[in-house]
């Protein structure tokens, strides 16, 4: 039996779509089993076609991106109504994504920088005609509507999406791994005693040894082992773009507390090493953090 599926893109980079298309010849296995009811990147159905479907008539709905505008929120709610199973597809959908870093500022500070400040702009103003209003803050999609499945990744690898889609098509269980990126990394580790942090342009990373042991901030220890440790394999530190393993509520807090146990530095030194703790420790999931929620509440009181 073919499964009726829909793919919706909220504010995002469409990297999850690219990653799905990157299945290439494996698509030939999957596509014949799918009846695509909505997928603007690929198929010509319009929003009204999706809105016109009976409730719960989509077997599996995939939601990429996060809600930055009122249109995004509307599309998300339509997807929830129409889908039996709703999948938060990618880290933007699960945790808010990199655009969640914008939650450090008020909306007017964001629009000021984009539309009023650049010296190349000749007529500063905020567009208002036939464009949706922005939401004040980015929140993870599961805070807006309930989801059935979370599939993190920035983007999820082709294999991640293939495995999830195959499980959903066959009705097999689909669970996220409890492992971390470190469990998937092949580098040699020693007992960690970090005395100084180095930035990626400093020195050269030894391709055999644990990147964190060498003093580069590699977040593999606090990040879900779902990507196959692809960045450490390319001699690049893990940025935590797949988010935390299941059960960890606040990724950045987890990272900071874990660093406390392995770093031999004075708190002032550590603070100086990371002038940007939010960007460093919450790459794709600041919007999901307690800190962001507290700040959002304070901003909305103002």
């Amino acid at each position: 039996m073919t499964k009726r599926v829909a793919f919706a893109q909220l504010s995002s980079c469409w990297g999850c779509d690219q990653s799905l298309v990157d299945l290439h010849f494996s698509l030939l296995e999957v596509l014949p089993q799918l009846e695509i009811l909505y997928w603007p990147a690929v198929v010509d159905f319009k929003l009204k076609d999706l809105e016109g479907l009976p409730d719960k008539s989509v077997h599996v709905g995939f939601v990429e991106g996060s809600c930055r505008t009122e249109n995004d929120l509307h599309l998300l709610k339509v997807m929830r109504e129409k889908s039996k199973l709703l999948v938060a597809w990618g880290s933007c959908s699960c945790f808010g994504g990199v655009q969640g870093l914008g939650n450090q500022w008020t909306l007017s500070q964001l629009t000021d920088t984009k539309f009023f400040k650049p010296e190349t702009v000749v007529n500063p103003r905020l567009p208002t005609e036939n464009v949706p209003a922005f939401l004040d803050k980015v929140a993870p999609n599961p805070q807006h509507v309930p989801f059935d499945i979370i599939l993190p990744g920035c983007p999820p690898s082709s294999k991640n999406t293939f495995d999830a889609v195959t499980a959903l098509l066959t009705g097999a269980p689909f669970d996220l791994p409890q492992k971390t990126v470190c469990d998937q990394c092949t580098r040699t580790r020693e007992e960690k005693r970090i005395k100084k942090f180095r930035r990626t342009h400093e020195g050269k990373i030894d391709p055999k040894k644990c990147i964190l042991d060498q003093g580069y901030l590699c977040l593999g220890f606090a990040t879900i082992g779902f990507c196959g440790a692809q960045c450490p394999a390319a001699n690049a530190p893990c940025k935590g773009c797949f988010g935390p393993p299941p059960g960890v509520k606040d990724h950045g807090a987890k990272i900071i507390s874990a660093l406390g146990g392995i770093v031999e530095m004075e708190p002032e030194e550590l603070r100086a090493a990371f002038p940007d703790p939010i960007g460093s420790f919450y790459f794709v999931d600041y919007a999901a953090s307690y800190l962001s929620r507290i700040t959002s509440k304070e901003d909305s009181k103002k």
């Binding site: 603007p40 914008g102 000749v122 920035c154």
Partner: protein
């Protein structure tokens, strides 16, 4: 809206990467009043790049676009290097050139086969349910397989260089975190002959499409605009060169270093789009509206950088002249650029330096300054401009992404097409071939 006026809304525009609606307004007599391309979202990267270590920007910036993350990665790292006065080792530059050409190939493959081809194969009046790449794969398996081969080669190569196919991580200020291994190089060298066969087949398919659709290509949405693109000594270039502006008559009116972009480029903010419209500043807006992307590059360049691509360009110019204003010729130019990407990939894979391990400086000093990084993304000229403090933390960023350089031109061509269709019913008299998919 006054009585009798009509608004046609296309929501969303499909087979497009990004978020856009189309609003066409008609007067009560059926004349086209205006056409708006409404870009309906933006995510404020300019703001949240502030306060980050600049070497992190090349990791953040790819998240602007998952279809063209490599150009963002490279424009970003070049901007940081320019701000810090850093010159990466020559071998690292060669690997980056391989990286951007691999992405050019996969993105152009995706665009030609998945985004554009359904219109040509199912026909512009085909059933929306049939007009997509999934149906092409089912109905025309040979074309589908060709598409998958071309896209896969590009994405696999791009992923091999960048650490992952989407959102690469290997370029840092001062070079690359990891060299391109001999083992990987050899694996791609082995596929070169097949790649060249697929490319030839793609060119043949494109020629057939062009022949079949000659009428709409030469008659529909032919719009004179300025053109923007990068060249190196006149050759079409995507990694590192001078920026050229050509006027609608075909005269080169500006030829400048990317760092001087502010003298030549203005951003107009329309009331109806979150994507700004960039334009040639001395000509003003809307007179100075330009287009970027494949055809614009083929217009501004004197010649292609490689021999087979040059033959293909000469063929297009012999038929359509220079500059070419026919919007549908973008597809032709796309295939010409695919040929150049393949030829450059071959040249780079065969260059012994491509597997050099001398790809990163060990001593890079952050400093206060500002730098511009510019590359050609598949969809046009891409500029990242960062200001950094003494520690190398970003204090401000200005991003001119490829789509901004094209969107006013897109709107202009849509207005022309809408007038032809709604006022002159031009589509009814066009000569069209029999659809290949029904």
């Amino acid at each position: 809206m006054t009585d009798g006026e009509r608004t046609i809304k296309i929501e969303p525009v499909t087979r497009l990467e990004g978020h856009g609606d189309l609003t066409i307004r008609l007067t009560k007599t059926g004349k086209v009043k205006d056409v708006q391309f409404n870009v309906t979202s933006t995510r404020f990267f300019e703001k949240f790049l502030e306060g980050r270590f600049a070497e992190e920007a090349p990791i953040l910036a790819p998240r602007i676009c998952g279809i063209c993350p490599v150009p963002h990665h490279l424009a970003s790292v070049k901007a940081v290097e320019a701000a810090w006065d850093v010159t990466p080792p020559p071998a690292a530059v060669k690997v980056r050139r391989l990286h951007i050409n691999a992405k050019q190939l996969s993105s152009h493959g995706l665009h030609f086969f998945a985004l554009a081809a359904p219109d040509f194969l199912a026909g512009p009046f085909g059933d929306p349910a049939k007009r997509n790449v999934a149906e092409i794969i089912k109905a025309l398996p040979d074309v589908g397989k060709l598409a998958l081969h071309v896209m896969q080669f590009g994405q696999d190569l791009s992923g091999s260089v960048g650490g992952r196919p989407v959102h690469p991580v290997t370029s840092v200020p001062g070079g690359l975190l990891s060299p391109f291994s001999e083992e990987k190089r050899d694996a791609f060298l082995k596929q070169l002959d097949s790649l060249k066969e697929w490319t030839t087949a793609t060119v043949e398919l494109a020629k057939k499409v062009i022949e079949d659709y000659w009428d709409p290509i030469t008659k529909l949405a032919v719009v004179p605009t300025y053109y923007l693109g990068t060249h190196k000594s006149g050759n079409l270039e995507i990694y590192d060169g001078q920026i050229r502006v050509m006027d609608p008559e075909g005269k080169i009116v500006a030829d400048f270093k990317p760092k001087d972009y502010r003298k030549h480029l203005g951003e107009h903010i329309p009331d109806h789009s979150y994507a700004t419209h960039t334009f040639y500043l001395p000509a003003g807006y809307p007179e100075g509206v330009w287009r970027a992307n494949t055809l614009a590059r083929c217009n501004i360049a004197d010649r292609m950088a490689t021999p087979l691509a040059q033959e293909a360009l000469e063929e297009m110019r012999a038929k359509l002249g220079r500059p070419i204003h026919a919007t549908f010729a973008y597809h032709w130019a796309r295939v010409i650029e695919m040929v150049q990407a393949v030829e450059e990939i071959e040249m780079l894979l065969k260059d012994p330096d491509i597997v050099s391990t001398d790809v990163k400086l060990s001593d890079v000093q952050p400093k206060k300054g500002n730098g511009v990084g510019c590359v050609e993304a598949p969809r046009g000229t891409l500029i990242h401009h960062y200001w950094t403090d003494e520690k190398g933390v970003i204090t401000a960023a200005n991003l001119i992404v490829a789509t901004n350089n094209n969107i006013a031109g897109i709107e202009k061509s849509l207005l022309e097409a809408a007038k032809q269709i709604f006022e002159k019913r031009a589509h009814e008299s066009l000569k069209l071939p029999e659809p290949k998919i029904r």
